[in-house]
Subunit: 253 residues, 2 copies
Amino acid sequence: MSYSVGQVAGFAGVTVRTLHHYDEIGLLVPGGRSHAGHRRYDDADLDRLQQILFYRELGFPLEEVAVLLDDPKADPRAQLRRQHELLTARIERLQQMAAAVEHAMEARRMGINLTPEEKFEVFGDKDPEAHAEEAERRWGGTEAYAESQRRAATYTKDDWQRMQAEVASWGERYDALMAAGEPPSGEAAMAMAEEHRRHISTWFYECTYEAQLGLADMYVSDERFKEFYDSMRPGLAEHLREAITANAARHGS
Amino acid sequence: MSYSVGQVAGFAGVTVRTLHHYDEIGLLVPGGRSHAGHRRYDDADLDRLQQILFYRELGFPLEEVAVLLDDPKADPRAQLRRQHELLTARIERLQQMAAAVEHAMEARRMGINLTPEEKFEVFGDKDPEAHAEEAERRWGGTEAYAESQRRAATYTKDDWQRMQAEVASWGERYDALMAAGEPPSGEAAMAMAEEHRRHISTWFYECTYEAQLGLADMYVSDERFKEFYDSMRPGLAEHLREAITANAARHGS
DNA sequence: GCTTGCACCTCACGCCGCGTGAGGAAGCAG
DNA sequence: CTGCTTCCTCACGCGGCGTGAGGTGCAAGC
C-alpha cells in the first residue's frame, strides 16, 4: 500500500507544501515515485512522518529531528521511551507555569507586587543560585527594593473593591472561627476552605481542589502570603492550610 | 525603579536583541529612554513582558500576542484566567499525546501495525467524523486494508525475541492462574498485574499505575488488543483489567 | 477525440522571529 | 586618560514553511 502527497497530508494534518519541504531537505524522502514523477509514501514513511510531527510539535528544529530519527543506536523502543520522557517533562513544565500563574493571581488578590525576579521565575533563569548572586552583586539591594514595592499594587478599581470586601468578610469570620477554637478538620473550617476555593473560582480561575492544595502550601512557605493571612489572625495561614487539606481529602475520594 | 535592556534580558531569559525587536514592532515599547537614548523599562513593562513571554511560549505569533494584550475588555484578571485555561488545555493535549505514545508502544509490543488514521489520530484530524467519511469515500476499504496489515509489524530482531519470550511466559502463567479460578482481586492476579507493569517499565517506558490503568481500558475497548490477550485465554483481557485496577488501588493510597 | 478539472509537479519569492555582526557612543573603574 | 562593558542603530541571513506561477497526467463528460 502506498499513498500520494494529498492523502498523507490529509491524515497527517499537514499541507502538501510541508511534505515537499521535508522531501527537499531530505527529512522525509518518499519511498518511491510513480511513473509520472508523483511522490508515493509507503507505511514506513508514514511512521517516520509521525515521529517527525511529534518532535516538531515539541519545538525541535527539523535538522535536529533528522538527527534524532536517524540515530542508529535508537531503535523504535528507545524512540518511544524518549518521546514519553519528553512529554512528561513538558507536562511538568506546563504545570509549573500554571502554578506560577496561580501564584501571580494570588499576589494580585492580596495586593502584593512581585519582584522582577519572581515575575520571571518560571522563564529563563537556568541557574537560579548564580542568578541571585549576580542580581545582588550588580543591582544590589533586591530585598530592599522588594520591600519598597510591597504595597504598590495596581488595582483595577471598581469590582476590585467588592472582591476586597469579600476577602475582609471571610477573614473576620475565619478569625471568629479560630477564636471559638474550631479545629481545621471541623465542619466549619472546611466550609471556610470551600468558600475560599469558590472565591477564587468566581473571581479568578477555575480552582480545583488540587490547585488549592498548591496555594495552601504557598500560604505557609512564602513569607508575604503567610503575612497576609496571619495579619487577619496569627496562625491563620497554617490553620487554613490544614482546613484546605482536610476539605480536599473529603472531596477527593 | 527602572531597568536597562541588559537587566531585563537578564531576568527574563531573553536576549537584548529580542527586546530591541519587540520595541521595533511596537509590542513592548519601554516606558522611557535615558538621556543617552538608552531604553528604560519600568515595572509595568516587566509585567507586559512577562505576559508576552507567556503567550509566546504557547506558540502564539507576536502579532496575536499584541492583540491579546491590548484587548481593552480583558483586565488583568481575565488575562490570568485565560492563561490558566490555555495551560490546562495544553496539558490535556500533551497527556493525550502521551496516551497515544503508550498506545503505539503497546501495539508494537504485540506486533500490531496501526492503520494510517490511527497513526495520526492525535495530530491534525480536526473533524474526526468528516475525516472518516472522506477516507472511506476516497480511499475506500480502510478496514480491509487494516486487516491485511495486522501481522506485518516491523520487529527489531534480537532482544525482541527475549521480550516476546517474557510475554509468552507471562501469558502461560496467567492462563494457569485463571484455570485455577483465581479472582482478579486476589494476590496472585495482582502480582501478575504488577509484573505486567514492570515488564512495560523495563522494556519500554516508566509505566506508572495511572498509565497502566489507561492501558487496561484499552485492552478491553480496542478489538485488537482484546484479541491479543483473549487469545492467551478467553476472558483474560477483562480479568487482567480488573487485576490491574485492584493492584493500582492498592498502591495508589 | 477533445476539453474540463483535479491532483500532482517544480521553481521562486516572501514572511516571521529573531541571530549575528558592523560601527560607533556612553558610562564606569583604575 | 585608558580600557572595558553596555548600550545604540542599521542591515543582512536563516529556518520553516505559505503562496503564487506555470506546466503535466489522468479520468470523466460531452
